[in-house]
Subunit: 421 residues, 2 copies
Amino acid sequence: MTKKNAFYAQSGGVTAVINASACGVIQAARENSDKIGTVYAGRNGIIGALTEDLIDTSLESDEDIAALRHTPSGAFGSCRYKLKPIEQSTAEYERIIEVFKAHNIGYFFYNGGGDSQDTSHKMALMSKKLGYPITCIGVPKTVDNDLPITDNCPGFGSVAKYVAVSIREAGFDVASMAKTSTKVFVMEVMGRHAGWIAAAGALAAEKEGDSPHIILFPEVVFDQEKFLARVDECVKKFGYCAIVVSEGLSNTDGVFLAEAGGKDAFGHAQLGGVAPVIAEIVKGALGYKYHWAVADYLQRAARHIASKTDVDQAYAVGRAAVEFALAGKNAVMPAIVRTSDEPYQWEIGEALLADVANVEKMMPPEYITEDGFGITEECRRYLQPLIEGEDYPPFKNGLPNYVELKNESVAKKLKTTFDIA
Amino acid sequence: MTKKNAFYAQSGGVTAVINASACGVIQAARENSDKIGTVYAGRNGIIGALTEDLIDTSLESDEDIAALRHTPSGAFGSCRYKLKPIEQSTAEYERIIEVFKAHNIGYFFYNGGGDSQDTSHKMALMSKKLGYPITCIGVPKTVDNDLPITDNCPGFGSVAKYVAVSIREAGFDVASMAKTSTKVFVMEVMGRHAGWIAAAGALAAEKEGDSPHIILFPEVVFDQEKFLARVDECVKKFGYCAIVVSEGLSNTDGVFLAEAGGKDAFGHAQLGGVAPVIAEIVKGALGYKYHWAVADYLQRAARHIASKTDVDQAYAVGRAAVEFALAGKNAVMPAIVRTSDEPYQWEIGEALLADVANVEKMMPPEYITEDGFGITEECRRYLQPLIEGEDYPPFKNGLPNYVELKNESVAKKLKTTFDIA
């Protein structure tokens, strides 16, 4: 078998540690340069494959590739672009395979969430069918922690740590001001469908009265009366109330509260997220002074407070992807297997892409307390190890010293172009 | 002279490092226990003095007092409560002196911003007038960086670092997604009157094209047309545009943009801050997909990413306050004096409370670029050292291990009570 090149791309919303996976893939490939040729990265994810816009990672120094491990976001660009269903059109798959053939690419490493694993799976099938078999390995990534089979998803642990650290710190702040000022604090976090990120906020509360006092999950329909009663109880008992709310919180009609908040004078929907809506509900009913925060991208980009567990796992799945490919595996994804809670231990296992594709892992009902406002001990046991350990990036001039790669393009070989819809 | 006790209180909005000042005060007092008795802390700031609600800090272990150095927010509680002007009523001053007399308190250490320094100054005057002279020393604190005389204010450097780190990280995120998703990111920061915090965000941009691309200062009237042209230019040139906006951004009528955004269907003012207003203006005019974040309390509570310079200075002004008192000084405040830019060097100087009280230090016009969207080299030279150095708190279970004190009350000695207005 002649030595084939590899293609690596980042897909969907980026995370604080997806570049650690890229680092793992590229370093493992470099260590096996007798078996794998150049790693080409897709500029802006799969769009790079479709448009033959490939980045030659061999032009990056070992030092810069190593620095990816501590650099957040997608170093080669990511994209929100889903290939068309095969039943509808195979043109995109055909084009990618044409590009891969032209550049002697025999390995496809796709770093993303459920959609991306589906794409990897279909690539494996289609490449075989089209007579140019490609080894397709998925690399898991998603802050939402909603991939099946793998115990958890690289990217989640760091956003979980950020959210828990932030609500602890804000809780200390509000507690000290509550006598004469803010009594209710609302922090909005990501997670439109699954409440994993909101749940992680609860890790900050280690004893009664600790911040946060209330978690509002997307899995639990918002019960305004019950919520207000709990807020009032907390303020009376602890002096203040700290709340973590998922952006996906919905009302009884299944409508996102962020969108149900009414229109402004110009008929526009509320500009704000769900945090200001919740804060205003509290103010209207109970009169307490509030403050709110929307962390938005800050939470998933916060490499400065990444979980060491998360960084280690993101790097490990990157390396494992290459090792799987070299071991002759195909249409699989490295998965994280928990072998012990205390002490926390994990190893890399293997999941079939067919089993991972398009399955969303939601919070199990037994992870949410009966009142719907908190997490159970079982949930805490699951989440706790994922935020363990710090892995600070190097700093320069008081700021994290993140790497920007050269990202030089590979010369195009095809005469044809491809338009992205 | 018999040994007098000391009173220490925290005032106004708390910071990531105000407890480092408390640590400095208490440790210095303990080291001079032959000259200073017990340090009593006011529970919820000056309210503790008025209501004779004193905390006996001597019951806290050396270890816990040392841990204040790495714990954000106000360990004894702070408050937003300003004493009445002396011309209007001296009852509050008289009450405080009555409480101090009862507890043999001869030192008053007041940790706060401009208002608090005014209070300390008046306390010095009134105590003399009432025949019970008290040594009054101010301890500077404010994230707004708006105290005069002192080169900078403890509390500011850490919020500055948080803002610069966050907009750098979010910038990396948006840059990698911009091809198919978010192109404009808006981060709202504190600073209702002075743009110091917004300016600090600009430190993240070290070369052309770096995030953030635009700073919107409270000192510069919002020029929508010019702003939109710049946003469009950035998106076209760099692929995306990252914006830091001060909560105090105002329009030509001097109205905060956060409040000028219109009313919702129920006639309520917009719930959101200024970030969503700015984002919507961009979307409406240019059609770019946006995201926005409001850091709110997260920014001033973020001890996990505090500036070491800031922590060191906050601690130093706390210690210096006690040293000043023991040296027989009165009605003064330790100030930070910059003796060199490169390498950055500072020492503790002395400011008269009379000169500090009620003066706001705004951004000098020469710190803002001519176009109004950035900072000058002079401003960068001033700000850069303030965010230098990391000073991570200890972690436990993946989270910062902040201390909560016992905060035991001192037995009341007075028969009278005092109602807080």
